[in-house]
């Protein structure tokens, strides 16, 4: 149900700036036995060296390049520049035309008609048509590929003609646009490319760059697509280099070996600001990290106890220690930069309030023995847990840290074998993504066992409410109720931190961590 977590969590490694979290290598297995396998390879490597190619250091290697299958952020960093979606978010995460030039909904809100751009071609020169959209979406739904949950309300996808696609939904779906455009995992792929199997190593898209060279373990080279519908990119190409060690990535940027990186050691961010020849881009992301208390376990079934813990935690301290301040503390899921943000600041750090809440609930803190479950694959959770544990001991609660590898962590979460856990949700855009699966009593990721009929009703309404103002009101109410009930205890929204050479111009940091080089120029 939720690839988001897996996908996003991979990127958390990048943020945590500790090691690659990388994935295995891709070598073109079939017939093309060169080290640099690519159908369209040519001599891309040589051309790339002849100036105008932007070198970008990313923190790991894609596991594979099929956008419908991979969940690794490293894959999407590359694929963002190779593939297009029907529509796409702008820098404010508002949906804008991409392969679809315009769209409208029927009066009953059940039929969406998308009008496709004319004259778009694939990297191999063939024409892009409505059939490609139908093929791509049906592939995701039929084969139950990782983004298939995004199509849960979709009944059918059909091509009316070469330029028109019709999508029928089972009920009004105000979040359909976010689902079709908010994530490269629903990119439009080419049927031949998929069926030949090349999509995993030599993808063919309609995007601003085409893949020309892949050196396993080392780099992927893209070449500007002169026929891109938005106009050919200014740079002649982009070379993505896999550098897992943040210090090395930064040194590569400082020495001019690469022009851009998102693998910046967090403790060095502050000192980079203002460094000659470098630009630092830092914006709040729409990702969030949280604590969840298992409401099946006593005494966390009592709302006062959960609130007490929310008061006992010093978010600033946690954020400083784990993120070196490169994050914004938050008490709800959605960050301030979003139009769906709800102001809320009930839980200031207040150990006395925590103590009196526990008293009121008739719970002696000395009786609470709890386990904080975190994952070694996400070191910030381990660091945070140490601080949280000491803050809890200040109000007399004994806690132990259980630190597991992510596989075991997921297992324990699924079986409810935990008292408190820390994890993150990343890459969400629509408010439904932020709340439904986590806090609806039937939600697929409601592992903490939260059930509030009022919230359930609001969440069901929010899914189908098409009036934007009314919808905002619904989610404001959801946000505050969920926080009041401490279904999750929200900690912070991490920043997106990227750095690039002053020679790079026109680059904009996206709050959803999409990396776009199509409008960039290189001096």
């Amino acid at each position: 149900m939720t690839t988001r977590l897996a996908a996003g969590l991979t990127l958390a490694l990048t943020l945590a700036a500790c090691s690659g979290g990388g994935d295995a290598v891709d070598v073109n297995g079939d017939g093309n036995d060169n080290e640099a396998p690519s159908e369209a390879a040519g001599d891309g490597g040589e051309q790339a060296a002849s100036g105008g190619t932007l070198a970008a250091a990313i923190a790991g290697e894609p596991d594979q390049l099929d956008p419908h299958v991979t969940t690794a952020y490293f894959s999407f960093q590359v694929l963002e520049n190779v593939y297009d979606t029907l529509i796409e978010p702008d820098v404010n995460l508002e949906m804008q035309p991409a392969l679809a030039e315009s769209w409208e909904t029927s009066e009953d809100q059940l039929t969406w008609t998308f009008h496709l751009r004319e004259g778009v071609t694939w990297h191999d020169g063939s024409d892009f048509t409505a059939d490609d959209v139908v093929y791509s979406y049906n592939r995701i739904m039929d084969e139950e590929l990782s983004p298939s949950w995004r199509f849960s309300s979709v009944e059918s996808v059909t091509a009316v003609d070469d330029q028109t696609v019709e999508i029928v939904v089972s009920g009004p779906s105000p979040n359909l646009l976010a689902n079709l455009g908010g994530y490269k995992g629903v990119a439009i792929v080419q049927q031949d490319n998929v069926e030949s199997g090349d999509v995993t190593t030599a993808p063919i898209g309609t995007g601003p760059f085409s893949l020309t060279n892949y050196t396993p373990g080392s780099s992927i080279t893209l070449e500007a697509n002169p026929d891109y519908y938005g106009g050919a990119p200014e740079v002649s190409g982009v070379e993505f280099r896999f550098i897992s060690e943040p210090t090395t990535a930064l040194a590569s940027l400082q020495s001019g070996d690469v022009d851009w990186t998102d693998n910046v050691p967090p403790q060095q961010v502050a000192s980079l600001d203002g460094e000659d020849g470098l630009e630092l881009g830092q914006v709040g992301s729409n990702d969030y990290w949280y604590l969840a208390l298992n409401q099946e376990h006593e005494p966390f079934d009592q709302v006062e106890v959960r609130q007490a813990i929310a008061y006992a935690i010093d978010r600033e301290g946690i954020t400083d220690a784990t993120m070196f301040g490169n994050a914004t503390v938050n008490q709800t899921a959605i960050p301030e930069s979003s139009s769906w943000y709800t102001p809320y600041d009930t839980y200031s750090y207040d150990p006395d309030q925590a103590t009196s809440l526990l008293e009121g609930a008739g719970v002696d803190p000395a009786d609470i023995e709890m386990e904080i479950m975190v994952s070694t694959d996400y070191p910030e959770t381990v660091q945070a847990a140490q601080i949280i544990s000491s803050q809890l001991s200040d109000i007399g609660i004994n806690s132990e840290i259980k630190s597991l590898d992510f596989g075991a962590w997921l297992d324990e979460q699924g079986q409810g074998n935990y008292d408190m856990l820390m994890m993150g949700w990343l890459g969400n855009i629509d408010p439904d993504d932020f709340y439904y699966s986590q806090h609806h009593s039937d939600g697929a990721n409601n592992y903490q066992g939260y059930a509030n009929p009022e919230v359930d009703e609001l969440l069901d309404q929010g899914r189908t409410e098409t009036d934007e103002a009314a919808r905002k009101e619904i989610y404001d109410q959801v946000a505050t109720t969920v926080a009041d009930d401490a279904s999750y205890i929200y900690l912070y929204n991490p920043d997106v931190v990227q750095a690039w050479s002053s020679d790079v111009q026109g680059y904009e940091v996206m709050p959803n961590r999409a990396i776009r080089f199509r409008d960039v120029t290189l001096n």
Partner: protein, 316 residues
């Protein structure tokens, strides 16, 4: 010839043992690869299907026998993560590691022989003290830290060398050299320091031997005595240590490859561990073990070349 065959046979037996150990270790690493691959999309049916498809649902002994049977024919299975044949992935990465290890051992040899010999000849003097202090430091330096220091100095501060990346030597030798020098030094320093100490003590020992005294008293020029009578004899134990150092380097490049983003076996192993990619991990460890065995074999054969007194085969 009989000896070579005997040694080869011995190596095969050892290799067989290695497969058992590798198989056990890999399966004892905590973390279920299928579970990790599925992320939060946990579906018991899909999970069972994937386990069946990967063969992980079968008894370990059966899994092992299947593995060894296939490995004997060169089939090391398919990587869980990328779906590519393991053999293919390994061979793609081998050149980078071999070239790095070769440069590392070359640097180690170039440094350790002159330093070790000078240090021994000037035993107790100022030069000897400095060499001993520096080699002690070299042995204690963590690879990781040394690599970072080099990057800071030569890339960030001086801007002389690219801090990371790899260009195959066949594509652009100059570019390859520029990129291999820092990781090569990082690898070479530790091995070089250890070797320096061995060369020094071995030469010292030889210097006190009867035949050297004889040579000296015959009035042979000191340089000739050193080269003909001392160094040649001192080489024998040094070759053994060089062999183990080559093996150590192959194992030790993991960290160096991660620091310098060098796309060799080390980086591959690192990624495979993170993803619990059993087939890839087994294949990589097996390959490293094979190289280890080959190096040892070559070292043994080299003995005879250097010192005819050593009889191959043992009993003669």
């Amino acid at each position: 010839m009989a000896y070579v065959l005997h040694r080869l046979l011995q190596s095969v037996v050892v290799l067989f043992g290695v497969t058992i150990v590798v198989f056990l270790i890999v399966h004892l690493v905590p973390g279920d690869p299928i579970r990790i691959g599925m992320g939060t999309r946990f579906d018991p049916e899909v999970y069972d299907a994937l386990r069946r498809a990967s063969g992980l649902d079968r008894p370990p002994v059966e899994q092992y026998l299947t593995y060894v049977g296939k490995a004997a024919t060169g089939d090391l299975g398919v990587s869980f993560r990328s779906g590519q044949p393991v053999t293919h992935l390994l061979t793609a990465r081998l050149p980078a590691t071999v070239s790095l290890a070769a440069v590392g051992i070359l640097i180690a040899l170039l440094v350790s022989f002159p330093l070790g010999i000078i240090s021994a000849v000037k035993n107790g003097g100022a030069v000897d003290s400095v060499v001993r202090a520096v080699s002690q430091l070299g042995v204690s330096l963590p690879n990781f830290w040394l690599g970072m220091l080099l990057i800071l100095l030569f890339s960030s501060t001086l801007g002389w060398l690219p801090p990371s990346g790899y260009t195959p030597i066949t594509e652009d030798p100059l570019e390859w050299a520029k990129r291999v020098i820092m990781p090569g030094i990082t690898v070479g320093v530790v091995a070089g320091s250890i070797l320096t100490r061995y060369v020094r003590s071995s030469v010292l020992e030889t210097l006190s031997m009867d035949h050297v005294r004889t040579a000296n008293s015959k009035g042979l020029p000191a340089r000739l005595v050193l080269m003909r009578h001392v160094v040649r004899n001192a080489l024998v134990p040094v070759i053994t240590v060089t062999g183990t150092q080559i093996a150590a380097i192959l194992g030790g490049v993991i960290v160096v490859e991660v620091v310098f983003a060098w796309p060799g076996l080390g980086l591959l192993v690192y990624d495979a561990v993170r993803a619990r990619d059993y087939p890839l991990l087994q294949g990589a460890v097996l390959l490293i073990a094979v190289i280890f065995l080959l190096v040892n074999l070559v070292v043994d054969l080299l003995y005879a070349k250097v010192d005819p007194r050593i009889q191959l085969g043992g009993e003669q």
